[in-house]
């Protein structure tokens, strides 16, 4: 937002690019959970574009991004976040878009030292090089600390009016935002990607372990954002909704998974991901009962539905909290 505004102030025509990887935090979780219902359901990229008065192009990179997540050349950060590869990939996609649409250079909001892996002085040239953007990549917020780029040399922007921010503090950015009259701004970098989240990364790692290979589909990574995930066996895990919003969301997957709901008491919707035998289905039913209003009951009736349409009702005793080993929680 700030970087775009800095060059717009110099008369440069800017259009926004927003890449959707499937791991973006905003929107999804807000839309699903009851507790988030009161939050504004704005898409930050669209909101920023409106604040700036620029066009925004949202680009679906879900398929291409898989290779970045699965095989990051530069490795992961603290969790399964391939930040440096991600940055190079996105700037590379921006370069392709720039060339296709006849634009002259790319602007990013990177600041040296802002992020421990992808925004260091020594990694800035890596992003420029691996993306193919090279000296057509301008970082207006820290440009004064970096070598001159093409737009500066050509006089398309005045280097003197760019900035030399560095470090983790966001005070200079906040001051600049206030200078521009912005009263609100989007989530700082890092907090907008599920891959930086330890719990989410643990679920993704579990998914790969269970499958015996590192691959995923969009539905997989969506489901990792929703519900309690418990793996009682290497063969299957259960995803149990935590509120009505999640139940509604998981309902959309009922035809793809064996699913369970209590019929004698109010309770969650459970999906079984993997292959559960008779004992496994009964365990899933007891877990479903555990997280519903019948948790203290002697017996809970649980309807089990299979994707082929057949169903059966099981009468089960809910598991107690003590009967659920902590290691089941993914």
């Amino acid at each position: 937002m700030l970087a775009a505004r800095v060059v717009m102030d110099q008369g440069v025509h800017v259009e926004g690019l927003n890449f959707f990887t499937g791991f973006c935090v905003e929107g999804h979780t807000h839309a699903i959970r009851n507790q988030d219902k009161a939050r504004p359901k704005r898409n930050n990229a669209l909101w920023v574009a409106e604040q700036l008065g620029i066009k925004l192009h949202i680009v679906d990179v879900i398929e291409e991004y898989k290779d970045i997540v699965i095989n990051p050349r530069h490795g992961y950060g603290a969790n399964l976040n391939p930040c440096l590869d991600c940055k190079g990939f996105m700037v590379g996609k921006a370069r392709e878009w720039m060339e296709r649409k006849g634009f002259d250079f790319i602007v990013t909001g990177e600041v040296i030292g802002q992020r421990p892996k992808s925004q260091r002085k020594d990694t800035m040239p890596v992003v420029a090089r691996e993306s193919g953007a090279n000296d057509r990549l301008l970082r207006p917020l820290c440009a004064k600390l970096l070598p001159e780029t093409l737009p500066e040399r050509e006089g398309w922007v005045d280097r003197a009016r760019l900035h030399g921010f560095s470090g983790r503090s966001r005070k200079p950015q906040i001051a600049l935002a206030q200078h521009f009259g912005f009263e609100d701004w989007a989530q700082p970098a890092g907090g907008c990607c599920f891959l930086t989240d330890a719990q989410y990364s643990s679920k993704l790692a579990d998914l790969w372990r269970a499958r015996g290979e590192r691959r995923y589909e969009l539905d997989d990574i969506m489901l990792l954002k929703v519900g309690r995930h418990l793996r009682p066996s290497p063969e299957f895990k259960v995803i149990i909704s935590r509120d009505g919003g999640e139940t509604n969301f998981l309902t959309g997957y009922r035809r793809q998974f064996v699913n369970l709901t209590a019929t004698s008491h109010r309770g969650p919707l459970t999906l079984v991901d993997g292959k559960a035998d008779e004992a496994g289905i009964e365990l899933a039913a007891r877990l479903t009962a555990r997280f519903g209003q019948g948790r203290e009951a002697e017996r809970v009736d649980v309807l089990v539905e299979w994707p082929d349409g057949h169903s059966r009702t099981l009468a089960v005793r809910p598991l107690s909290a003590e009967q659920i080993p902590p290691e089941w929680y993914v």
Partner: protein, 74 residues
């Protein structure tokens, strides 16, 4: 000018916007597109996308489980 429909149910923000964007690219000025979504966030996002790109929102409707946004392509 013709009327079109887009099923964007059971997908979450920003996919309804992306699908709308992709569909609009292949429509002619004056065409209308009715987008049906289950993510209520689309009630904010699709009109925002329309404002940014100059398309007109003719109607938004919240039917509880689903929301319907009808736009006219500029």
């Amino acid at each position: 000018m013709s009327h079109h429909q887009l099923d964007a149910r059971r997908i979450l923000c920003p996919l309804p916007v992306i699908r709308t964007q992709q569909r609009v690219e292949n429509l002619a000025p004056g065409d209308t597109l009715e987008v049906r979504c289950t993510d209520h966030g689309a009630l904010n996002d699709i009109p925002a996308w329309c404002r940014i790109n100059g398309h007109e929102v003719i109607e938004t409707r919240d039917d509880g489980a689903e929301v319907v946004i009808t736009i006219r392509v500029s």
